[in-house]
Structures are given as C-alpha cells and as structure tokens.
C-alpha cells in the first residue's frame, strides 16, 4: 500500500484558513492528507504544539499565517516568524528531516496558492517516508 502521510496544518484564522476556504469554494483539488487546526494568529502557535504533533504521529507539520505586514493583529506573524524559525532549527539539530516542517504565508485571497502549497508539501513529505523519529510507539 502506498504511504499516505499524516500532515497537521495549523493556520491563522484571518488569512490561511480563509485561503483554505477559498480553495474549497472554488473547488480546487488538493491532497486529503492535511488535517487543519485553526488558531487566531500564527503567533498563537506554541512550538510545543509542533513537537507534540510529531510525537503523536504527524509526518509533516505545515504552518500558515498572513503575509508579514498583513497580520490581522498588526505584528503577530513577525513574532511568529522568529519563533518558528527557531523551532525549525531545533527540529533540524535534533536530527529530524527539515522538510517535514514548513511555514508559509498565504493570504485569504490565495486559494490556489494554498492548494499548491499543500500539494507540494504533501508530495515532499511523501518522499521523506513515514516519520519515525519523534513518533511515540504504542500498541494499537
């Protein structure tokens, strides 16, 4: 059977989540591997969410926020960028494949970009195979 990665998406309410909605309403096709969680702002994302997602079996984590400068709250994503940059460095230095974690700025009007990013990221994660390093092994 083909490997179908589990991907966690964490998207900001105002841009990326709305962009995902747009992708849906315009009936754009993108892989179903993404499970989305909506947060009010990308700066709401605690890096521990990302570590925990990988532990609980995510093969990839995709984070979406407003374009820098366009944050609904003014500067939230500017902070988020720094935090997520460090998160990426931590995962990398711990030895996780860097390709499993991605941050993208997708605005509410970029439905096709959302579909593109998800398609591309899913393919990339698929290429990396199952994530086994952080995943907690348990029965069942």
């Amino acid at each position: 059977m083909d490997f179908e990665p589990k991907i966690l998406g964490i998207a900001c309410n105002w841009c990326t989540y709305t962009g995902a909605d747009l992708a849906g309403t315009t009936r754009l096709k993108y892989p179903q591997n993404l499970r989305m969680v909506r947060v009010m702002c990308s700066s709401r994302i605690n890096p521990s969410f990302v570590f925990r997602a990988f532990q609980l079996g995510a093969d990839g984590v995709l984070i979406g926020g407003c374009h820098p400068g366009d944050c609904h709250y003014g500067t939230g994503n500017m902070y988020a960028r720094r935090r997520l940059a460090i998160t990426k460095k931590i995962l990398e230095f711990a030895g996780l494949e860097p390709g499993r974690f991605r941050v993208e700025w997708i605005s509410a009007s970029e439905g096709n970009r959302f579909a593109e990013v998800v398609t591309e990221f899913t393919a990339a994660v698929k290429g990396l195979g199952p994530q086994t390093k952080l995943k907690v092994s348990h029965d069942g």
Partner: protein, 345 residues
C-alpha cells in the same frame, strides 16, 4: 560454600548467569559506572569504586506500569501488569548498597500492607555483594559512621572477592549457595589457602574507616526533633539548595513515588515512578495549599525523614553513607555536614 574461578573466565560465568535470568551488573561508559541489564558478557566491569546511581532500580524501577488500559466509548478495558517472575541476579553491589535493601524492606515489607512489587523482586533476586577491599574510601563516604563495614555481609547472598587473578565466591545465604551449586561446573573448589585469603580480606576490609560522625540513632532522632522548629538553622543548611531531585534519585534509600495515569490517544497505563520530596509540587494540595512551599522545609523533610522519622518508625537510620548525594549535588551540599552541624547544636 566458597568457590573460585579464574578472572579470565568471568565472561563465561556472566554468560551462564545471563542464561539463568536477567543479570544486572556494573557497566562503565564515558560518564562512569552504573548497573545495567547485561546482554554482552564483556560489558561487565569489576574495576570501579561505586556506581553513580544506586542499584535500587533493580527492585524499585524508576518507572513501572501497574495497569495498562484501553479507553473507549464504553467501559475501559484494563489489564493488571503481572508481578515479575524471572529470577534475577544483581552482581557487584557494594556493602552499603546491599544494606540499603534491608532498610527499604522495613518500609515496603515491614510496615502494614506489603508492597507486592518490592517483595516479588526481593524474593527473586540473588545479590552478589562486592566488598571494598584494598580501597581507600572516597572522601565523601561515611558508611562506617553508620555502623556499616566495608565488608558488611548484610543484604548480600554471595560475596565476591578478587584474589590475584582469581575470583572467590562465598555463598552467604541459602539462595546464594543454590546459585553457586547450579553453576558448579564453572567453578573450582576453593582450597584452605583460599579460605584463609577470604577471611583475611574480610578482616582487612572491615578495618577501613571512612570519615566519622557519632550518630547514634536515638540521639540523632531526638536531636533533629528538637531542631525541627529552628528555622534559622535549616535556612542556613538549605541556603545553597536549588531544590532539584538529584540527591533523592541517586540515593539508595529514597523511596518516594508518584502514581499517575498516562495516555496516548486511547491507550494508557497507570504508572508508578520515582518522585522526590525536594520538588516544589510534591506536597501541593488541590486546594492550592502547600505545606512545604519553601526550599528549607523540603530539605528538612529529606534529612529528618532519614535521620529522625525512620528511626522512630523502624529503629534504623535510613542512610547508608554511600556519599552519592554529596557527589552528585550540583552545589555540593553534604548531608554528613548537615548532620554533624545538627549534632553540635
């Protein structure tokens, strides 16, 4: 029963013991020596002073599942983890540590309800003691202050002593002799000369003196009881304490634990695992009240539990003077010094 084997044949013996059941023995890595479950006979070392962590984990693992369960829409299904049944051998235990098992028996077996985990592991395990012989005691050890000799047989089933290129094994208990008998093929019978050597070695080891402190159990207990309310004294003793759990985790007689249910999705286990009275949230109650919110109160609890409460309950000091807490303390707090200061008061 005294048996012997050439030192070169140790790995053969270890292999035979592994076949009999889990074997725990000292293993050296770049951070020092610790007791580990042995898979390769070459890993075992007998060339060490003492392990960084005490061997108590063999009887009282840092974490163990009591019950595993699966949660679902209906009633959860639960399975009790069976008690251990495999015969276990613990090789290379220093006399103070072997004696610590005796001290822990008081609590786990001798006070009210018997702890089934401790009991089954104690019953199943043969302890091969490894007395200190020809060894200068470490500067922080103080086991002789507590009436434990470097060749104390209490707690050991077999004694292991090195004799120029040979290893002497002396069976001390029925359990120990049975083990030696079972491996008889590997051993040669000891000669009268070996008997002499063994006795001489014991006598030589028994003469080892560590740093010394007069701490008669009854007197120490009442001393600390009177000192309990002396906040200034305890604040001074705990001035440097950072309230981590290092001392309690390396200690052979610390036995506090926590029980918690931990789940991953629908699967989980009720676990018991080491906890430490030095942690801030150890006594934090649901109401938010914490009777030991200050560092000095927690250090006082640790010291008094060992040198006062345990004496009142069981008549013995719950410390073997192995020096581990002092060696591992990030800020070099020394329980010997604390007791010495307390006795001066």
């Amino acid at each position: 029963m005294l048996k012997k084997i050439e030192q070169g044949k140790l790995s053969e013996l270890v292999t035979a013991l592994i076949d009999q059941g889990p074997l725990y023995a000292p293993v050296r890595d770049d951070r020092g020596v610790n007791f580990q479950s042995i898979r390769s006979p070459l890993a075992v070392t007998l060339d060490f002073y003492n392990s960084v962590l005490s061997p108590k984990a063999v009887f009282f693992p840092q974490s163990e599942d009591l019950i595993s369960y699966r949660l679902g829409r209906g009633e959860p299904t639960a399975k009790t983890t069976p008690l251990p049944t495999a015969q276990t051998i613990l090789l290379g235990v220093r006399p103070p540590d072997a004696y610590s098992f005796f001290l822990m028996d008081e609590l786990f077996l001798g006070s009210g309800i018997v702890d089934p985990y401790w009991q089954s592991r104690r019953d199943l395990t043969v302890v091969i003691g490894y007395p200190f012989i020809n060894q200068t005691p470490d500067a922080v050890d103080f086991y002789s202050s507590l009436g434990i000799s470097a060749t104390d047989t209490r707690g050991s089933d077999i004694f292991l002593i090195k004799k120029n290129g040979e290893l002497l094994f002396k069976g001390l208990t029925e359990k120990g002799n049975a083990l030696l008998a079972k491996q008889a093929a590997l051993f040669t019978e000891a000669t009268g000369d070996d008997e002499q050597y063994y006795l001489a070695a014991l006598a030589q080891g028994a003469a080892i003196v560590t740093r010394n402190l007069d701490c008669d159990p009854k007197r120490t207990a009442s001393k600390l009881e009177n000192l309990f309310a002396d906040t200034a004294f305890w604040e001074q003793m705990a001035a440097a304490c950072i309230s981590c759990g290092t001392c309690t985790f390396v200690c052979p007689t610390c036995h506090c634990f926590d029980i918690a249910d931990e789940n991953i999705f629908r699967d989980g286990a009720r676990r018991r695992f080491w906890d430490a009275c030095m942690f801030t949230d150890f006594t934090l109650e649901a109401s938010g009240h914490n009777p030991r919110s200050r560092v000095y109160q927690r250090l006082r609890q640790k010291v008094c539990h060992k040198y006062s409460y345990y004496i009142r309950n069981f008549g013995v000091i719950s410390c073997v003077g192995c020096g581990r807490c002092t060696r591992s303390c990030p800020v070099n707090i020394d329980i010997f010094t604390i007791i010495a200061e307390a006795m001066k008061k």
